[in-house]
Amino acid sequence: MYVAVKGGERAIDAAHAWLAEERRGDPAIPELTVAQIREQMALAVNRVMAEGSLYDPDLAALAIKQARGDLIEAVFLIRAYRTTLPRFGASRPVDTAAMAVDRRVSATFKDLPGGQVLGPTFDYTHRLLDFALMAESEVPPAPTAAAAAEPVPHVTGLLDRDGLIEAEPPGEDAPADLTRTPLELPADRALRLQALTRGDEGFVLSLAYSTQRGYGRTHAFVGELRIGRVAVEVELPELGFAVEIGEVELTECETVNQFKGSKTEPPQFTRGYGLVMGQSERKAISMSLVDRALRWQELGEDFTGAPAQDQEFVLSHCDNVQATGFLEHIKLPHYVDFQSELELVRRLRAEATALREAAE
Amino acid sequence: MDGANLTMPLLSVQRLTKRYGPRIGCAEVAFDLWPGEVLGIVGESGSGKSTLLSCLAGLQRPDEGAILWEGRDVLGFSEAERRRLLRGDWAYVHQNPRDGLRMGVSAGGNVGERLMAVGQRHYGAIRDTATDWLGRVEIAAERIDDRPSAFSGGMQQRLQIARNLVTGPRLVFMDEPTGGLDVSVQARLLDLLRGLVRDLGLSVVIVTHDLAVVRLLADRLMVMKSGHVVETGLTDQVLDDPQHAYTQLLVSSVLQV
């Protein structure tokens, strides 16, 4: 009876203990190590880093282990941890033109300076379950080639030289930080890109897909997709120059989009941009399509009512930590509100019945 | 009619110009509107009459010119002042009633909204006023709790008119109020409008391509072509003795029909 509501504290403890047991699974099976997750579940680790907005493969792997493989839960753990980290400063912008590329493909040119580099991609694998992986096995070494000595130029840079693509609009000197200042709408492009890069991969993917199907169509080509490592540098005021403090792996996608031109501008191509931490190719491409769709206003295009064009819609709903929290909160007790509704419905029904009886 | 000042026009429009890139929406339009006067703006589609109206009503910002409301330039108004004007002294009747009504709100709520926006807080009084206005636009009182989506096109338009006139605006903008309605429904609506304008002493700027509408409603006419005003004058004068070739064409094409 009423006492059953009591005992929340004990119930929580028991639930946590049970959860820990479930997380471990059958103790007869060896426990996963964080290093195993980091090395062998690297794409999951990358997604958690990207959406968690924290570049730390070990912590992301730990979060995945703790979250029993629920990646949104792992993102959430990383975000909550990130809140407690002190901020020492900002790095210089990373230079993706100087990226040591593992993969670099262009859909717009057959060949180009720096060449097409397939890299470790699923693209041309046949999606057949490889039952050999059910057993432990050695992987034969992949063939190697000497790394390119020269930096690989951006494809859009090649188009830019001929004026065929819009000049990159100059942005604010220091972009606002989504995690340090409240998002106010309308948001500029730098803020939109920040929101998209930490946005839910599934949500951004679906929005991008919707633009391809005609809801805010942007006629995108992948001008270039590159994955590799870039140096992170910080200025040290005491030294007067920048010092490299490490490397991060990034995925960058630049789309080249049709633009009819306007009365004042001759036709030229326009850009969509995606940059995601880690190897997160699907996300980077999706992001660049959505970025382009959101730019309709500055490019003088029509708002067709497509969800991907509506920045308030996109930015308010792309964050999976916000979404999952709010969605799941409806399982919390609401009996006070429900009681209020119950009384209202009873009263209204009683009044309606009285009215009907009076009428008869 | 309070505040009517017979020495100063209610609305004075000066050199109003709106461009869309290199294309002209309307150019150098100027006129005065006096209290109680109905001004008709006619022209074919693309003549700039709708652009002009939306600039006047503050829905678009003109590139040049001035719009003086009782001597004050509306273009210099703050957003707050502009919105206050739009829910108080001004009203706007859209061609498509869906643009001017809340389709998910009952007829009574639609008429009552402007009353509540200006601070009325007595449900019974709001409802009585709404009922009265539904009657004046010939909508049966028992439809007060129905949503406009259950109404015919003509009823929706009459509801939109009631919703706009309930707070006693002094200036009403109308954009093709009879457009999109059947001919018989049009006639009834026109009749109703003429009665309301006369009874309430409204000042009206009405845009239409239909000369029959202005013949019935407007005191004065402004004929527009390619964004420019080509002829102005008293309605009967312009329609019976058009001076500009374009007006002559417009009038003759109507007469032939």
């Binding site: 929340g8 070990d58 799941e328 609401h334 | -």
Partner: protein
Amino acid sequence: MSAPRTPSRAMPPQDRAARPGNRPDRKGTAVSDYNFAYLDEQTKRMIRRALLKALAVPGYQVPFASREMPMPYGWGTGGVQVTAACLTPGDRLKVIDQGADDTTNAVSIRRFFQRTAGVAVTERTADATVIQTRHRIPEQPLTEAQILVYQVPIPEPLRFLEPRETETRKMHELEEYGLMHVKLYEDIARHGEIATSYAYPVKVEGRYVMDPSPIPKFDNPKLADNPAIQLFGAGRESRIYAVPPYSQVVSLDFEDHPFVASKADHDCDLCGASESYLDEVITDDRGSRMFVCSDTDFCNARQAAGHRGRLSAQEVA
């Protein structure tokens, strides 16, 4: 990628407020390597600035840079951040959800602050200096020495009339609240009364229309002229707002359909109170039910003082 790292780097930062000697405990009895009340001092200052602004402009929603907290959005992250920014080591905290101290989410949040701030906690309304609440205002009148922190899911009272933030901010700015009354009008036209039973909109100090969070409308009168500071935190929506002590808070209504703070037409079956908000509890599958105070502290205190309700005998037995 990055070199193997030492475990110590993965630990939360030490802060001056963290007490030395405590190590993180995986069982979670003391996680004092986090700063006092979890948030770093910079973040707390940012929140306090927002709180001051909110108190200066009663009912106005102040945007703040909401942080990701270790509990989900929608589960009180806004309230938790506000509480964290208000707490001092000498505070005594009470946390309630649905009026009760031992509902699971209240337990969870109370534990969070026990762990991260080490503050004293209490279930007694009178003893608390800070009370974080979800969906209720305690029955016992509050004092000037207390802060009531509300968890808010959707801070915007106009949200379900107008989904766009850009538009609703403008409506507040211009005091365009006609639409809010249209909704109330529609309620009366359809149901004969205003069919909003919780999160009932109020106007604060004659200016801003405010969502009082999903408290039952029974609690609305307690918002007004309250000696305590009332703070509202919406984490997911990054908004803070406030009702300063002794503020005018008016529930929206019509002159001829005045606001009525209603509750179930019963007395509490445990303590006999007739003036408190009641939960309905279904006691079997044949339609039997009992009504008990939703404010557990209020009910317990009355029972301790000897008050009895219809079913008290059963309870005792």
